[in-house]
Subunit: 346 residues, 2 copies
DNA sequence: GACCGCTTTGAAAGCGCATTCACCCTAGAT
DNA sequence: ATCTAGGGTGAATGCGCTTTCAAAGCGGTC
């Protein structure tokens, strides 16, 4: 910048103005400066600017380190876990990017590794005006410290720290409605729920919704899912379906899976076993991934507005940036059931 | 930082060392400092650090502003164009993020709007150690200036500036091999190629490959694609298929589409018209999107290593960061044909 | 007890920009 | 011609950190 100033015969203040507030500089002067900048290959330093102006124009996102990087050797490069997990963070990224762009922000993303002072979280926190965190990504203790200095919004999980803004998806409501639909509209009674890791807030919330629906309908309310899978992948979904089928007693009238991946896997497994869907058994998922619409029979599921999740995160950040003192906001984004072929609709 | 120093009774230099080089500080001192930092909610300023150390630890990506943000009203939120376009940048982002993480970098992403001094590009450029650009995203003139100051790698398109590193996908080779397969292995002769916008380097490169294959086989070499579509969407693919069908003369033995989206649309259209694939006609796509594997018949296509594109971009950046003087590198990533049902294989 | 070699800490000088504040110049008003 | 407003510009200060360079502490040695 000093060079540009010298070359164009002005002071650095004027150069700065040319970039920050072009209107306040006379046309002729501005031209000279820009010309010099071009000749010198001048690129304003975001760091210096940020330091001086105390703002970065960047928002951040920390998401979990889902896929094992070492597993990438996988030639097909689309293992089940990958598909499911990445789609999620990809969509959030996309949503945040869109919204951020609308507000003139860029987006800094990083999958958090370990915590500690040298973590990526710290790097992100130091370089943004505010950021979003996927639940269970960053140690609460770190967040506690960081959130005292800049806006943080917690996504898709328990808020953990109560002065944070946070956004969740109406998991319980969605599953409850889905189960209600099966019970009331299709007259099914024996429902089996396949859950995931008890540590997964999403899967647990969905199970809660399932229980509510059972209660609402006067059916027995299960204590735990009929089955749990560790990874919630297609493969595990297929296995779960077979386990349920082989479990002596009567075959359930419907299998509700805690996510689409598992449900899709189940669909295939059932087809292999000659069990017709939805004639013999209904199947539902959760998430509304693209695949759910394409499989045959198309999968009844609950569409999760993941992109909106990202967009809302940005909106909340922007708002808090505008007013640091407003009370913490907690949003629950509505989900919409998609009744398709696999439950007997469509 | 000054506060932390004061509170823990050391100088700011020591505080800095605690973060930058913990080993060089006595354990007791370090504890005191970290304790104070925790109490004060200290978050190191990335800007100041970047300014002082002249490096950011961040890599960037500029991609085109594909989807029209205003079109988001679209409730289903997955129009054709969206699907295709976003998958592409999403995957690059994912690839870059992974590779960046491996090297300890975070990733700053921004879809470029207009150029000019206040563009997002400028913002990105000023905040990263180096960045990647999707071809035709940033005005060459801007890149010219920026690339004199920091590493830039050009992705998936003509290099434009010859001192840049760049990475492309072997579009021509892929299509050539695909066409060769149809001609030699399946004995088909009347091939029709459906291209896209003449401005699309990818679509054009694929058509070039197609022509080469024709030449190789001694078939007439077409001057232009049999048909072009503007958006290369499913809908347009369907329409293209019908147009080709209705074009009097003899029906082609195979339709080669410049991307999977169009091919999938065509598949549906042909089904509606009662034309069997692959018995009556072979169909191929390009890209290897997930959908291509799921449709029935499964689509013969060419898998594009988009994620690797992103990863390579990061590798090149890292390498150039290590040695600014090495000669510009130009990589062509190999593609792999996926022979599936729609051409008569599998 | 003076001396030596380490390790640990401090002082100070920027890093590149935004931003007052003061100043000068020009143009219109008087 | 003098005065008044602004618009346009420059000088100077500080943003929060890294990084020499020096000084100080600390064990041991001779």
């Amino acid at each position: 910048m000093y060079d540009v100033a010298e070359r164009s015969g002005v002071s650095i203040a004027t150069v700065s103005r040319v970039y920050r507030n072009p209107g306040s500089v006379r046309d002729r002067t501005r031209e000279r400066v820009l010309e010099a900048a071009r000749e010198l290959g001048y690129v304003p330093s975001g760091n210096a600017r940020g330091l001086a102006s105390r703002t970065t124009g960047v928002l951040g996102l920390c998401f979990p380190d889902y896929a094992d990087p070492d597993a990438e050797a996988d030639a097909e490069a689309d293992s089940d876990a990958d598909d499911a997990a990445m789609l999620y963070s990809d969509q959030i990224i996309r949503g945040m990017e869109r919204a951020a762009r609308r507000h003139g922000y860029a987006l800094l993303i990083a999958a958090s590794l370990e915590g500690g002072p040298e973590s990526l979280v710290a790097k992100v926190a130091g370089r943004v005006d505010g950021f979003a965190v996927l639940a269970q990504t960053v140690p609460t203790e770190d967040l506690e410290v960081i959130s005292r200095r800049l806006p943080v919004v917690m996504l898709a999980g328990p808020r953990e720290i109560d002065h944070l803004d946070h956004v969740v998806v109406a998991n319980a409501d969605g599953e409850r409605e889905l189960a209600r639909h099966l019970i009331e509209d299709h007259g099914l009674r024996r429902l089996a729920f396949v859950g995931g890791d008890p540590e997964s807030p999403d899967a647990e919330a969905r199970f809660r919704g399932f229980r509510q629906a059972c209660g609402d309908a006067g059916l027995p309310v299960p204590e735990a899912p009929d089955l749990r899978t560790a990874m919630m992948t297609r493969a595990e979904g297929a296995r779960a379906a077979e386990t349920l089928l082989d479990r002596g007693s009567e075959r359930p009238a419907a299998m509700l899976f805690a996510n689409d991946q598992m449900a899709v896997g189940a669909l295939r497994a059932l087809e292999r076993r000659g069990v017709r869907v939805p004639e013999d058994i209904a199947v539902t998922g959760f998430d509304g991934i693209p695949l759910s619409r394409i499989v045959r029979p198309s999968l009844t599921t609950v569409r999760q507005p993941i992109r909106q999740l990202g967009e809302q995160a940005v909106e909340l950040l922007v708002q808090r940036l505008a007013d640091a003192n407003r009370p913490p906001v907690s949003l629950e984004l509505p989900v919409s059931p998609a009744h398709r072929a696999s439950c007997g609709c469509g």
